[in-house]
Amino acid sequence: MRLPPYLIAPLFVTLSLSPITAHALNVQKELQKQGCLKCHAISRKKDGPSIKETAKKYRSEVNGREMLRGHLTSAPEIEVDGKKEKHKMFEPKDDGDLDAVINWILSK
């Protein structure tokens, strides 16, 4: 089947703006750069829980994805060694970056 030429341009624009467009962010590198991996390792415990533990926790919640988004972007109060402190906020360049990070964490 051949598409009429007048449909090709609008279809191209629609596809390139759609949310299924691959996001090129290297999440692990970005987390490293923003200092997240100072306190979190992927499968080992540091001062914070491992990324795998975090993923397990949020995957088990009904609204886990949104809860994780809130945790990453709102600097909630956390407890480390019995002391309360503010969790460092993840600073995405755009929503796509944040989605990529959330997807990556939940996939662990």
Binding site: Q32, K33, A41, S43, R44, V80, D81, K83, E85
Partner: protein
């Protein structure tokens, strides 16, 4: 010495001194040359993996531009330890020639083993290469966050060394069971 000079003249002695000095200078120049980032990349299988992972981390790019390059973390500064480490590292060149880790898949397959080697070395030396730049006695608590002050105090009280907490900050974390804190110094 006088007898030798009398017998052979001063020229052989002078030649020996020049050769000796050339060897010392040559060894130092060679050692410095093999301790550069570009030299490491030219011989070890690291450009697209370990080095790419390191780029943009805090040890590569930061506010002041002071960098810790490959040898700062992986080669001792003390002469004999440095020579011994470099001698052992030549074994890795065999891996480079035979293509032991020349694809991303092969690299991942060996990542844990390589990380364990580095972690073990750091545990055995109380993270000596970290301490070449980071002097715990000169850390000013006034300039650290309160969280960092607490965590360093806790680490010291628990007998931990740098790598126990600061692993996987310059290269990606490997899959595997053990963490640096599980490894006992030998």
């Amino acid at each position: 010495m006088r007898q030798i000079i009398k017998k052979y003249g001063a020229i052989p002695l002078l030649i020996a001194m020049i050769i000796g000095a050339a060897l010392v200078v040559g060894a130092n120049v060679g050692m410095a040359w093999t301790n550069t980032e570009s030299f490491c990349i030219s011989c070890h299988e690291m450009k697209n993996n370990a080095y790419a992972e390191y780029q943009d981390t805090i040890h590569d790019t930061n506010r002041t531009g002071v960098r810790a390059t490959c040898p700062d973390c992986h080669v001792p500064q003390e002469f004999l330890a440095k020579v011994w480490r470099k001698t052992k590292a030549t074994m890795e060149l065999y891996g480079k020639i035979t293509g032991k880790i020349d694809t991303p898949e092969k690299y991942e397959e060996h990542r844990y083993e390589m990380a364990l080697n580095v972690w073990t070395r750091m545990k055995n030396t109380d993270s000596r290469e970290c301490r070449n730049c980071h002097n715990a006695d000169k850390m000013d608590p006034e300039k650290q966050t309160p969280e960092a002050v607490d965590r360093h105090a806790k680490g010291v009280a628990e007998g931990k060394t740098c790598i126990d907490c600061h692993f996987a900050i310059a290269h990606y974390e490997p899959d595997g069971e053990l963490a640096p804190e599980d490894l006992k110094p030998q």
